[in-house]
Amino acid sequence: MKKQLFATLLVTSLFSIVATAETDEEKGLRIAQEADAFDAGFVDFTADMVMTLKNRKGQESIRQIKSKTLEVEGDGDKSLSLFLEPADVKGTASLTYSHGLEPDDQWLYLPALKRVKRISSKNKSGPFMGSEFAFEDLGSQEVEKYTYKFLRDEACGEYECYVIERFPAYEYSGYTRQIGWIDKEAYRVVKVEYYDRKNTLLKTLTSSGYNQYAGKHWRPESMEMINHQTGKSTTLSWENYAFKTGLTENDFDKNGLKRLR
């Protein structure tokens, strides 16, 4: 993927010398590619995630997940999630090989039966563990999964942002479009608005507390998703980020699901 990107970037920059006029679609795509290239080379990372689900009455429910991600050159990333809370799903784990526009490969491990089950990956729009995050919000964000359109430059909190509209190019998305605020300095995603299938504003995601890891990669401490249609919200807190931990393909094998804990 890196080589391809480099080539694309080279071509794009050569092109911009020849023809200075860039459409909004081309600019949107270029920024998405730059953002992807900016974060490339993370190799692998692990992190702990705490989700706090809040309903309209303010009642809270907690989910706790350990995650591992492996960068794959020329394809989507591989990721592992181990569920720790709620207690009845403790030990349940999922493994995903994402493939951009192609359907992902996905396996689920059910500890009570000690059964590894291959599952269909069609359910992209459904809620992740009853939260306001859909599966597609948390999946690997490959450039080719969307088409893009640059909207404008705008200040966003402490940063100066590009505002970019993107349209899912994969099947079964729950969205018509998303509008993202991406900072110009380090391509941090500050805010995303999600529009449902009827093109009505459904949710807003706000990410904050960005820290830099391994001298390069920016990750947020907190991601808050607010559902405007139901009044429910989910806050995702990230802890213990670690990069280049030495994970290998073997750690992302369906057999490995059985020995995560």
């Binding site: 207690a87 009845d88 039966l113 291959r118 269909s120 990956s121 459904g126 809620p127 804990r261």
Partner: protein
Amino acid sequence: METPDNAFGVSGMTIMGYKWILRTALLILCLTASTLSRAEFSGNIGIEGRYFIEDPLFAEQSEGFTGSISIQPEFRHQWNNGDNGITFIPFARVDSEDDERTHADIRELYFLDVNGDWEWRIGINKIFWGVLEFQHLVDIVNQTDTVENIDGEDKLGQPMLHLGLNKDFGLVEFFVLPYFRERTFAGEEGRLRSGLVVDTDNVTYQSSDEENHIDYALRWSHYFGNFDIGISWFDGTSREPIFQLSEDQSSLVPFYQQIEQTGLDLQYTGEEWLWKLEAIHRDGLNENFWAAGAGFEYTFVGINESDADLGVLMEYQYDQRDKNQAALQNDLFFGTRLAMNDVQSTELLAGFGYDLDDQSRSFRLETSRRFGDSVKVNLEAQYFSQVDSENVLFDLRQDSHLQLEIVWYF
């Protein structure tokens, strides 16, 4: 969820009194003595009530309501970045009516070592093979704990040495199984049993080594694109007993023969469709047969613009044996699975089984929902609507019941 692969039968192994198990247990407990204090502790405690709608068919059986409690603590410790680990999961149930259902077991007690592509486990463990939902044909390593639930998904811990090699060609596993676990069966007072009680104190074996016969198993599993495949081979004591009348003709005596069994499990995973196949060939003392099950699951994602998913399942089971030997010799199953995908993980699974030879019918419903952070409530209903006099389920025809279970996870 599935119907019983053999709802009759009994085997007495309850409390672990066996030397092999004790020795392994001691060895592993000694190994962990220094690390156990750092072990992660979790588990669950359950309270279960069953209500049998009809009067019992047999005189000694309990009627109406039966209650029981169960406990399953779980200790786990990992070190070397998860390359080494110890797991200890004992289990016990106390039942208000059935002495045979009051039982304890070590579900898991093993040591794990991972070394690159190699991994091995020694101790007591549970292994699952297969892809189907209504019956688990190829799944043979662990004995079924029938008294727990007639769905056949509860298993007894199996002592084993388990070696695995994970390469580009897939996962190859080798099992040495040095001790045999007898199947559990309901006692005199218990419901969901055959007319004649299975005498688990008088078990007979083909092998003169009896329960100490050493069994072996081998399995290769892999995936190619949308296909997941497993091929397995087993040589040893059959997990499924054959019943003989006792001398005084007052009970059934389980006889465990030596078998060789080859199995295949295959699943195709599409975007909405799952296609599944399991097949076995078994060669035993007086039997040589094949059996297979095949089916699909189709999922409607986000029905009616909601978060809920609805799955539709159908599976067909064939067994070359007669219907008095195999429960599912020519049976069709229909099922539906509803997942609300809500905060409480509300789920419902309904299944209908139909015997194409004798038109026997049974219906099963399973629902579950989380309350708060750590309590799960499971409701099950099993209804035998029509059972032919020659069907294996005939003695269960008045055992339709409702089961409510409240489980606290810690």
